[in-house]
Each structure stands twice: as C-alpha cells, then as structure tokens.
C-alpha cells in the first residue's frame, strides 16, 4: 500500500481516529458531483489543532497527500483525494469555542456546520448569514469561499471570516487576522487562505462575523412571462440600491421540477424568489419599491410568505431545487455550472445559455443568485450515454467562455476543485502562474490537496 510508513506513524499518533476501513474510505471518495470516486488510503478524525499539526508533519516527512474534508457537500470535488493519501475529516472538531455577543463574532472549530452554528446562536439575537443551501461545514465553506442565496446582502465567506488558525504544510500553526473589524497590518493572510481549497494549509479554527437577527423578515415569490423580464427586474432592483436579503431566479424548467418534487403549484413560468430583512418600516418600504419594479416588468402572481413556516417552506424548496432537478430524470447525473457576470450582462448570459443548450440538445434547468449575477445551469446526462455527457461538458465550457467574454468568472461560488481547473488559465492568464508560485512557496512538497487549483501540483 502506498504511504505505508506514513500510515504507521499516523496510526501511532491517532489510534482509532485513523481508519483504513473500506466503507469509510468509500464514504470519503466522492463529493456531490459527477466525478469518479477516489478513495484515499486513510481517513483521520483529529480532535485538536495539535493533532492536525502532528499529522501534517508526519505526512510532510513522507510526501503523503493531505486533503481536508468537512461534510463532503462540495460541488467540484474539492475534498476528493485525487492523489490518494490521507483525508482529514473535521467532524470531531465541531465546537463553538467563544461567542462574543457585544462584538458580534464567534470563534469555532472547522467541522461545525452552519445549521449547527445558527441553532447555537438562536437565543442570542445573532446569526451567521452565509447560506449555500447545503448544511456544509464552516471550515469547508471558508476553504471554498462559499456564498449562496444571501450573498447579495451579507457578502460571501471572504467578507465574513475575520480570522483563521491554519496548519501549514510543514506543520507550523499560524493565526491570521484579529477580532478588530479592520486592519492594515500587512498581507491579508486570512483572505489568502479563504478560497484556497486546502491547497495552502488546513483551517483548524475560524473567527466569523455575525449579524443581528432582523427585526422583520418578509419573503415573496412572483412569476414573469419571460426570462428577460425577470432578469431586468433584478437589474433594476440592484441598481435602485434596494438592500435585498435574497433575490433568486428559477427558470420554467426549474419551477416544473420543484412543483413535481415538492408538490408545489407554481405557474410554469420564470420566477423570482425574494426576501427582505430590516425594521418593520424598512421592510415595508423595500417591498413597496420592489413591487413597483416587478409591476414595471409584467410580474404577476406576487405571493407573500410572511409567516416563518411559509418562508421556511419557500427556501427549503429553493435549496432542494438541485435535487428536484436531478429527480426529473431518475438515475441521471449532472455537470453543475456556476458562472457569475456583471449584473448588466446577466440577461445576455442567461439567454445566451438557453439558446446554446437548445441548439446543442442539452437539458439544463437554470437557477441562481441573480442579485450577484451568479447562476447555475444543471446540465443533465445519463451515465450510460457518454455522448450526452460530452455534450453537457462542452456546453459547460461554452458557458464559461461566454461569462469570461462578458467580464465574469468561471465560478461565482462553487470553486475550482476538479471541475473548473481547466478554465483557470483562460480566466487568470499569467495570474494562474502567480498562484502556482504562492503554492510552491507555502507547500514546496506539494502535499496539500494535490491535483487541485494551481497548474502542475501533482
């Protein structure tokens, strides 16, 4: 077996918290994506930063790959150990270490999930706003620079991580950032590790910014005759500066999927789902201005969800849309796309995508966080139909080309992982080589999540 010497030392370090059992290796072999499974040699369940540091030192000495694992909900295979080695599962490092009510921040371990955190915070009047849908681990969310439905108002993980503790590739432990709200003290190391997908080090602790639970929340859903109308309503909303908490788009195919999956009865038209946060009067004012914009674009069937249980049903429906879409064709898999463009080019990007999918016979319902200019087409294929997979993958490539031509990015929130690495040179040019230089400087042995993000790298 590969890395025998390393595994022996790791076993001495971790005892039962290192497993080589096949079922557990298989559990850690794939993400929620279409990539082939890649079981590691071992899975470690550390319980402290010291254990993680000792583990990394052993792996460094033996050149054994180390890949972090939160909940396995990444959509680009970031946590798949494609070069083997050890997967570090943070599920036993999932404590809330310190809630600072007055400063509205919290110190946590990386294995804690966002729903667990918000459950702990419920009585405090505070909440953590970033919501990618999946009940992901917060360490994983930081590592992949996750965002989701609320980023239009509260920002992404980039904006909500105040500081980190990181185990570097040589086992050194550093702390980045402070609990102050801003700092001009040197390179932004926090920002460097957020979004690095575990290729520069393992996050072992996070200090996160919290927000006050809004006094009033109001959500609504409304239908449009055309995608162009819906998207133009979004553009106007953003340009008017309405501080939307969420503004989500579902195309007709997505609405149909959701109706079938969740027994809903939305009209089979493009929809916007929105949410407002603020004071009672602030929410009322936002809703009134938004209502005017919707009317200007022929929006109809405007339905409010003001009761918490109705809102919860609405967002559960939205967050299950991915599964609802996959359920349209039982057994199918999908290439999930994640382009993000300047808001002024959003209609062009969405309409261009739809025309392209039709022209190339690809089934791909579209939905997304349109307030950020970010949308997903779920490009479906039958596992037994390689030609269909080729068509889906090619369409995904054209979506990226279209987004880049419009001044956008190949991934708004899912990250690079295995699926988007092929677009990095096209998006960043020489900047991708700079990323490789940074990676080589901090991980000269190339043991941290090799095969990901940068050129070369195993």
């Amino acid at each position: 077996m590969a890395y025998d010497a390393a595994l022996k030392e790791l076993s001495a370090l971790l005892g039962d918290a290192l497993t080589l059992s096949k079922p557990e290796l298989d559990q850690h072999a794939r993400s929620e994506s279409h990539f082939p499974p890649t079981p590691p040699e071992a899975v470690a369940y550390p319980t402290s930063t010291e254990e993680v540091a000792a583990l990394v030192r052993i792996c460094a000495a033996h050149g054994c790959p180390v890949t972090g694992w939160g909940t396995g909900t990444s959509l680009e295979g970031q946590s798949q150990a494609v070069r083997g080695g050890v997967v570090v599962d943070f599920s036993r490092m999932n404590r809330v270490l310190e809630v600072n009510h007055a400063d509205m921040d919290v110190r946590i371990q990386p294995g804690l999930t966002r729903e667990e955190l918000n459950a702990e915070l419920r009585a405090t009047g505070l909440f953590f706003p970033v919501d990618p849908g999946a009940n992901a681990s917060l360490g994983g969310m930081a590592a992949t620079r996750a965002s989701g439905t609320t980023a239009v108002r509260y920002g992404t993980m980039r904006d909500n991580v105040l500081g980190l503790e990181v185990v570097l590739a040589d086992g050194r432990v550093i702390r980045t950032g402070t609990r102050a709200r801003k700092s001009a003290a040197g390179y932004d190391l926090t920002g460097l590790f957020v979004g690095a997908e575990g290729t520069l080090g393992l996050i072992t602790e996070l200090t996160l910014r919290l927000r006050g639970q809004p006094e009033a929340i109001s959500a609504a859903v409304c239908a449009f005759d055309t995608i162009g109308d819906a998207v133009q309503a979004v553009i106007d909303t953003i340009q008017m500066g309405i501080p939307m908490a969420r503004i989500e788009f579902l195309d007709t195919a997505s609405v149909r999927a959701v109706n079938a999956y969740a027994g809903m009865h939305f009209p089979e038209k493009p929809h916007l789902l929105v949410e407002f946060h603020g004071s009672d009067s602030g929410v009322a004012e936002q809703a009134e201005v938004f209502g005017g914009i919707v009317a200007d674009h022929g929006g109809a069937d405007f339905a409010w969800a003001q009761k918490p249980e109705d809102r919860s049903a609405l967002w559960t429906m939205r967050h299950n849309a991915f599964y609802a879409i996959l359920a349209l064709r039982p057994g199918c898999r999908s290439v999930v796309t994640d382009v993000c463009v300047p808001i002024s080019r959003l209609a062009e990007a969405v309409e261009g995508t739809i025309a392209d999918l039709e022209a190339h016979d690809v089934t791909g319902p579209i939905l997304g966080h349109v307030g950020d200019g970010n949308f997903h087409a779920i490009l479906m294929f039958a596992p037994e139909d390689p030609a269909e997979e080729v068509r889906a993958t090619a369409a995904a490539g054209r979506m990226v080309e279209r987004a880049l031509a419009l001044g956008g990015t190949c991934t708004g929130e899912h990250g690079i992982g295995l699926g988007k690495r092929g677009y990095m040179e096209r998006e960043h040019g020489e900047g991708w080589q700079v990323m490789a230089t940074l990676k080589a400087a901090l991980d000269p042995g190339g043991i941290m999540n090799p095969g990901k993000l940068v050129p070369g790298n195993g």
Copy 2:
C-alpha cells in the same frame, strides 16, 4: 552614484520623465510623518503600464529598488525609498478609463485621487465611498488598504477593489479579479496586493466598486460629559445595527484644537460626529434611534447639519483635525497611532490610553473612527526635545501592546510602512514569517519597496 547603470537605461526609456533633479528628489523624500527624509536616486513619471513594466524589468536586472508614490500622504512612510533607487510617481497615470453605470464600477489609473474621481462621478448619481481624509491617490489607497470615516458603512479598500492590474517584480503584468461581484476562482490575488504597500508589485490599474449617492444625508454633532459615555453610545449604536455612514469621536483636547484652528465654538467636551445615509424615511428612522441612544448616555448640544454646506464644514473640520492638533504647538511633530480593537473593548482602550499618556507626560489628543473600534492618539513632541520623542514613541508602543492584548491590531488603516514594522512579529507571530515567504516568492530580488512590511527585506 548608486545604480548608475540602471539610471542610464531608465533615462533612455523615459527621457524627461525620469528626473534626478535635487528639488524633485527632495519632494519625494518624505511622507506626512515624522520619519527622516530619504531622497531616492531618481523619480520616474511613467504614463503607461508598458512603461512601468519596462522600468521594473530594468530595475530587476540591476537590483535597483522600486518604490511607488501616489500623493505622498501616507502616515507611515510607505512611499519613502529607504533603500534609495527609483521612486515611481503615478501622477501622470491619473485617468478614468471606464465608468460602468449599470454595474456601478469604474476602471481607473492609480494616480487618480479620490476627490478627482468623485468630481468625475458627480453627475452619474454614483460615488466612491472610501474617505481617508487626505486627497490620496486611489492606487496608494489600495496599496495601503486605506479606510477612514466611512468604513463603518462602506468598508475599507479591501471591500471596494474588485480587480487590479499589477506589474510584478520581474516586469510581468497580471490582471486580478473580474467585474463580477463575486468569484471563487482560486487564490484572492486582488486581496493579496491590496495592503501589500508596493512590496509585491506596482498597481497600474484598479477596478473599483461604486455606490449610489444616497437620497438623503443628515449629519449631527453632540457632546458628552465623559469619554466613557461617548464610547458607550458608539457601542450601543453599532450593536443596534444602525447603518451609520460615519461615527467619529473627538476627545476634549481635539475639540479644543479644532475650535482654535477653525474658529469653531464647540463645547470643550468629548464629541461624536455622525452621518446617516439612506432614503428620507430611513435617515429619519436612524436618527431617531440614534437620538435615543445619545440621550441614554447624557449626550447634549445635539446639533444637526442638514444643509450640504454645513455638512461639508463639519467634515472639513474633522479632516483638518490632525493639522489643528499639530497647530496647537507650532513646529511640533507627532507620532501618529492607529490602533483598532473589538468594539466591546473600545472604552477600555481609549481610557487606558488617556491614563497612560497622563502618567507618562505625553500630550496626545485622541480622535478616530470609533464605529470600527479604530482611534488615533496624536502624540506630539518638539523636534528639539529628544526625551519627549522617546516618551511619545514609548507611549505608542504601549498603545499597541494594549490593543493587541484586547484582541486588536497595531494599525486599523495607516498600514505598516516604517512606523509599525516593529510590531509585526508581536501581532502576527509565525504569520509574519509566512508574509516573508510570500514576498521572497514574488520578489526574489527584493527590489519592490525594500525595507518595509516583512522581516529582512533589505
């Protein structure tokens, strides 16, 4: 003369746009700080990215230091060429390249100042919100991660730079970021160069995020009996989630200085200066809630400045406070401090500082951006009194120690430059060595602003 061969090649490249004239070297020898002047060997005035890249390639070949220069308004000597070489003055690269109204962003050259940009934007309904007081160049503001009075609402340069063009230490030119509002595509290179103080490369173009000019603006000033009352009012305001556009503190000594300098008649007490941005009703609601908090803490002499000219006078007064304080003792110089702490520890930090200054016979009016937990003591000394300078410098060091012990940072917004480098190891521990590793990877010859920010470095 040092770097003769480099200067000869640079002269051939730049012609008249390279100067060795003593008056111009002297003009580029100091910032707005107390550090001794350090004239460079030459000053270059490039007009294009290509010229900057060619210049850097020549300097790289000869090991000649390269230090960027915007307006020379940095407070920590960031733009001083402490190892000599060439100062690159960006004043001839000061154009607005592209305003995207629909996406609320703008592409500019680095020598453009923030007031110039806002003058260009006046008719568009948009503005660039970051306001450090000085009419600094936007390239310099990005390089030093500047913020100022409005950061409490709009964030710092970290939050408002969408993308950069950067000339690296070997003359390669990269573009970071996109015009999309968010991206998960690899390492955050934009964030790495923002705040790097020119030690990793020279910024030759910026894409900045703009905001809509608020429908309503309202400003107010009010006095408190004690510093504790004023600071507690700030803490309550932040914790209530009131979206203040500015919330500034001046202690009694600063108020006295401002009264004398600007012919104002504020009561000689600690003051808060605030500004609200929003819709008419939103501003009224914010002001009402804030008024209640002020009353709870015994605030008095609440005066509104609703007319634009009154507001302008108020903020001019605030921005001139530094000069007003220096004018208290003609001919004096100052050590400017810039600590930032978690908001819950702000009263402790301010009161601890005042007690310390009194105990050590140091004159140091205090003012700052208290909504961020960031404040400055202007520690004055007579140039002819070395003992007083020693006392001021020692007090500055104790302020940093106090801030770090409270979970804060040695610099909220001024950056490291020459003045704060001695605190980097204390603040970042091993993280400072990581910064050195990154610097060595991107600038192996150590030519980019040597002597700054990282350990070693010339």
